[in-house]
């Protein structure tokens, strides 16, 4: 998942550049976003295809459930919402986060 997500961030960076006419500057993005962009730019096309294939394999394994059911309901949380400041990783650790 981190492979696909990181490549998505690298793609978002290109989108930002196309909109503002220059590369985004370091202070304009959160630290975790920069980490993901850097990770995404290191991913090869082969790695990306393999990651997408893996995701599709999981989708195919799950899909038959919906032959019998319209929706799959699960709890969003296993415990009450966490305090603010605990989950946000704006100060590094993108790989750890994902």
């Amino acid at each position: 998942m981190v492979t696909i997500w990181a490549v998505g961030n690298a793609s978002d960076r290109e989108l930002v550049e196309s909109r503002i006419g220059r590369p985004p500057r370091h202070h304009e993005l959160e630290i975790t976003t920069w980490e993901l962009i850097e990770l995404g730019r290191e991913v090869s096309a082969v790695e990306m295809v393999r990651a997408v294939d893996l995701l599709h394999s999981a989708s195919r394994a799950i899909a038959p459930f919906f032959d019998s059911y319209d929706a799959w309901l699960t709890p969003t949380l296993a415990q009450p919402p966490l305090p603010l400041g605990l989950l946000n990783k704006s100060y590094g650790g993108a790989r750890e986060w994902w």
Binding site: W5, G8, N9, D12, V16, R19, I20, P24, R25, H27, E28, L29, E30, T32, T33, L36, T76, L77, P80, P81, L82, P83, L84, G85, L86, L87, N88, K89, S90, W97
Partner: protein, 135 residues
């Protein structure tokens, strides 16, 4: 709650008093998420400071369909930067608060939408959660 990136109340009121497309959802207030989902003439940040004052020049596919169905979009909900976290505490807008306990997270990436839902506000809202959760 700090759940709106860009309120659109005045535009929504003006649209609501005008002639709306007919349909079962005509007139229903709606909140779009400030990640993608461009609305012509309205600021779209994708919750990053890097986009500055970017104003969308045309409606995206979802917004086009919502407006064609007569829904009235009342604002753009906050989220994490690029939707990167499962909590909504972006540097650009600051933390979105859980209305049931203001010291707790409203989740993410659709935290702004979730906070509005938890507060029992009346409008419907769009989500783009990576793990398909609906609240």
């Amino acid at each position: 709650m700090n759940c709106l990136a860009t309120p659109m109340f005045e535009e929504a009121r003006a649209r609501a008093v005008g002639k709306l497309p007919a349909g079962p959802l005509s007139g229903v207030p709606f909140l779009v998420k400030d990640l993608g989902q461009p609305y012509a003439g309205v600021r779209q940040t994708d919750v990053t400071g890097a986009l500055g004052g970017f104003i969308a020049d045309q409606d995206g596919g979802l917004v086009t369909r919502l407006r064609s169905a007569g829904l009235v979009i009342i604002g753009r909900a906050t989220a994490p930067e690029f939707g990167n976290h499962s909590t909504t505490e972006p540097e650009l807008f600051g933390a979105c608060h859980n209305p049931w306990d203001m010291g707790r997270s409203a989740g993410g990436s659709s935290g702004g939408s979730a906070a509005r839902a938890f507060s029992r506000s009346a409008e419907a809202r769009s989500k783009t959660n990576a793990n398909c959760m609906e609240r």
